[in-house]
């Protein structure tokens, strides 16, 4: 019925169904109060592709449900048109772009230093990693050696940010499964870490801390005292938060066997990070393509083989413990020295291209920078793991119940800022 929508006439507002043409108009069981149009998630234009035509045609007993962009559990402003058969999801059509800022274009018109603050809000949960990838790409273009103290500070603050992101994931995942308490327990960790990073960087959320050739500010007393205070009880506190869920029968029953990704499918979808490692592939950029000071540090790459939502959740909790190990080592070995390389104020890298990737809490976070010799990047391509992982939703959701689609999406942990860029 949807394929018969009339083409959009120029000058008139689009209507899904012109007055008097809706299928329910002749239905005596539907009470028509007046003939205002109402919202159907069907686009107001004729289908542009075969896939669109197929999706927007309803079979018997199916209906569309418009999830988002203002739905309580779409993790930002994602809109998913879900084709439902009862409670079971038949097919989905994600509609992206509600958070599109045009970052890659903004970056082309900004100074190299200014680009750092432009890429910051991409993944607002873990913005240090958004800075890290472009900054290292620029450093490769410039052939600049970053001081060791700066590298240590980068790793230290990055791992803190990773813990903050993962603990927030714990809360959101539980909330999407209906648990009210874990979100507020996990916000304690996040809040303490964010406060401590605010003492270091001056911002709670969009840190704008990394600089080309180093970091913005040295470790200060406020940060160190907060960090020491937190580290003394971090392991215990995180353990108590995880304990709320790990032994909960309802939670385990719902999360296990849900949204299973095998390693082949994960590789085909280009998944990285915890979502890939949960399928048994021990790929971690920190070990696979070592950068910064990670080769000197001791930590494990936890993997799991189940590939379901529970495995992804447990893996992230395991990574928190590894991050605590890394922070301990960083504090132990923190060298003295400068925190910035000697660089001119105005940067003009030689013409060329550079790719760099870092391991963010969501996976491989990459930046591909092209320089044309001017003081602005010619192009900066940002590879965002959230976008890659959101693609898996299309393969995982159909066949599941409506309630599970939320859990699957939460377990993949996408951030819409990074998806829409």
């Amino acid at each position: 019925m949807a394929t018969e929508t009339p083409p959009r006439a120029s000058g008139t507002p689009p209507r899904a169904y012109p007055i008097g043409t809706h299928p329910s108009d002749d239905d005596p069981n539907v009470l028509l109060v007046d003939d205002y149009e109402f919202y159907e998630p069907i686009p107001p234009y004729p289908p542009r592709t075969e896939r669109e035509a197929e999706f927007y045609t309803l079979a018997d007993g199916e209906m569309f449900l418009n999830l988002g962009p203002q739905h309580p559990s779409t993790h930002g402003v994602l809109r998913v048109v879900v084709k439902l058969d009862g409670e079971r999801v038949v097919d989905i059509d994600p509609v992206l772009g509600y958070l599109h800022r045009g970052v890659e274009k903004l970056v082309e018109n900004a100074d190299y230093h200014q680009t750092i603050s432009q890429v910051d809000p991409l993944e607002y949960i873990s913005s240090l990693f958004c800075e890290w990838a472009p900054v290292t790409a620029y450093e490769k273009l410039l052939d600049v050696e970053v001081p060791r103290r700066a590298e240590y500070i980068r790793v230290l603050s990055g791992e803190l940010n990773r813990i903050a992101s993962h603990s927030l994931f714990l809360g959101w995942f539980a909330l999407d499964l209906g648990g009210l308490t874990p979100i507020l327990w996990s916000f304690i960790e996040r809040d303490e870490i964010v406060e401590m990073l605010a003492a270091l960087t001056g911002q709670r959320m969009l840190f704008n801390y990394f600089r080309i050739g180093g970091v913005n500010g040295d470790l200060n007393h406020d940060f160190m005292s907060r960090l020491g205070d937190w580290m003394s009880r971090a392991a215990l506190q995180i353990e108590s938060g995880i304990g709320l869920l790990n032994e909960n029968e309802i939670f385990v029953r719902r999360a296990s066997g849900l949204g299973i990704v095998d390693s082949e499918m994960a590789m085909r979808l280009c998944m990285t990070g915890a979502n890939l490692r949960a399928t048994g592939v021990p790929f971690d950029v920190r070990r696979a393509h070592p950068y910064s000071i990670y080769p000197e540090l001791e930590f494990d790459i936890p993997t799991r083989t189940e590939g379901d939502s529970l495995a992804r959740y447990l893996l992230r909790m395991e990574e928190i413990k590894q991050s605590l190990r890394i922070i301990d080592q960083c504090l132990d070995r923190m060298p003295d020295g400068p925190i910035m390389a000697k660089l001119p104020r105005l940067i003009r890298p030689r013409p060329g291209r550079a790719w760099s990737a870092v391991e963010g809490p969501r996976g491989l976070y990459g930046a591909y920078a092209i320089s044309d010799g001017s003081d602005q990047p010619f192009r900066l391509k940002i590879h965002d793991p959230s976008f890659i992982h959101l693609q898996a939703v299309g393969a995982l959701m159909p066949g599941n119940l409506l309630a599970d689609t939320m859990a699957i999406m939460a377990s993949l942990d996408p951030v819409m800022g990074g998806v829409d860029k």
Partner: protein, 453 residues
């Protein structure tokens, strides 16, 4: 006329309101008094002749009035307890410790726009909250709160309770269907599926109890649980499996976590209540919390002894007849408050040097009131059965309400297929097993008794 007009114009808005209301009240009062004087006997005769109807109307009115503060209390409990479990502070702005917040919520809901969406079935949409609320109130009619405090003592009280309680689903389905919203529709259908499925184990789990009790009157069931005075008489002890099944199924009936799929906010926004606003939403909200109270109350009545104390309370004869005191009564009323206040204020004044005398007097007066209130309650508890019964009944019921709130703070939500599978694959066979074991045991014991005698 101009003088009246001028006077009228000089009045403020409250003044005008009073100028209208006071004469109106005076006329009405006069009319009422005249009616009573002239036709008092006839009216009384009619009322006495129709005593069951009068009793019914009176009970429903009292219950409806009573349920507003009960719902407020439970809403406040839920906000505060879940806040403490979430390591939050919770409501703390309106009233002492935020206790008036739910009242303010109620007023806010009254003032909001009462919105009907386009293409909604307006009639059904309007009546759905009424159905949900009135079924909640009506099903409370057979609850025995205390000895003698019962709306209507049916001999089929239990059947009536389940029949009326099951009608809630009609209201939820009406709201979900008529809203013209797919989330509402999903919520309404989930409610229908869930409540109808859980109705079966809920009802079957108490059949064993009915076999043991031999009656369906809730009043008699409670009386049977208080024969020896100990908690071992309660049906929770004699029917543990039935109690367990009933508790689980009752949680699902009240749409509470972990079975709150009908209003799962992370899945279907607010379920059947998505399109509701204003007082219509308020009725749904009230009904939900009243249902929590009623479900707790029926669990207490059926399995936890109702108004009976868990242990025999020693009976003390402590009836003061005021008439015997004579002039002593006058002295008591005049002197006791003064002396008590002074006595209780003295230590505060003497041992805390910063306290001023009038502050100490206020503290003493408040303490005296507390002491007298406590003594009066004790006196009432000892002398009146219904006060003692109400004490235990309300205490047990609110303990169960706390358990409901606790579960909401702790547990995630189950999935719809897990929910239905649990009802049909586990609860239903378990309740049938409970029924057969109970029936067989009753038969065997009867036969043994007959054989023995």
């Amino acid at each position: 006329m101009t003088a009246i007009n001028r006077t009228w114009d000089q009045l403020t808005v409250p003044g005008k309101a009073l100028a209208i209301v006071i004469p109106l009240l005076a006329v009405l009062t006069l009319g009422l008094v005249l009616t009573i004087v002239l036709f008092g006997q006839q009216i009384l005769d009619i009322l006495i002749f129709n005593l069951p109807i009068v009793r019914f109307v009176f009970a429903v009115t009292i219950l409806m009035l009573l349920f507003v503060p009960i719902a407020f209390l439970i809403i406040y409990m839920e906000m505060k307890i879940i806040a403490l479990m979430n390591l939050r502070i919770g409501p703390d702005r309106v009233g002492p410790w935020g206790t008036l917040l739910s009242t303010v919520h109620g007023l806010k809901v009254l003032m909001k726009e009462d919105f009907t969406p386009t293409r909604a079935d307006a009639v059904v949409f309007t009546w759905a909250p009424v159905v949900v609320f009135s079924t909640a109130v009506l099903s409370a009619l057979v609850l025995p709160f205390a000895p003698g405090l019962i709306g209507q003592d049916f001999n089929i009280g239990l059947l009536y309770f389940f029949a009326i309680g099951g009608m809630t689903v009609v209201g939820l389905l009406m709201g979900g269907w008529s809203s013209f919203n797919k989330y509402s529709l999903l919520g309404g259908l989930r409610a229908a599926a869930q409540i109808i499925s859980y109705e079966i184990p809920l009802t079957l789990s108490v059949v064993g109890l009915v076999i043991l009790a031999g009656t369906m009157s809730l009043n008699s069931i409670v009386e049977q649980q208080g024969i020896s005075g100990w908690a071992t008489d309660w049906y929770a002890v004699r029917q543990p499996l039935g109690f367990l099944i009933f508790a689980i199924a009752a949680t699902a009936e009240a749409n509470r976590t972990p079975f709150d799929l009908t209003e799962a906010d992370s899945e279907i926004v607010a379920g059947f209540a998505t399109e509701y606003s204003g007082m219509r939403f308020g009725f749904f909200f009230f009904a939900e919390y009243i249902n929590v109270f009623i479900i707790s109350a029926i669990t207490v009545v059926l399995f936890l002894g109702g108004w009976n104390a868990p242990f025999p309370v020693p009976h003390i004869e402590w009836m003061v007849n005021p008439g015997e005191l004579g002039i002593g009564l006058l002295l008591l009323v005049m002197l006791a408050p003064v002396i008590g206040t002074l006595l209780l204020a003295a230590p505060v004044y003497l041992f805390r040097s910063q306290t001023r005398w009038w502050v100490a007097l206020i503290i003493g007066f408040v303490l005296f009131n507390v002491v007298v209130g406590g003594l009066l309650s004790l006196w009432a508890y000892i002398n009146f059965d219904w006060v003692a019964g109400l004490f235990w009944f309300v205490g047990k019921t609110f303990t169960l309400v706390f358990v409901f709130v606790w579960m909401r703070g702790t547990l995630p939500r189950v999935r719809i297929d897990q929910l239905m599978g649990f009802a049909w694959k586990w609860l239903l066979p378990a309740s049938l097993l409970n029924l057969f074991v109970t029936a067989a045991a009753v038969l065997v014991i009867d036969a043994m008794k007959r054989g023995g005698s």
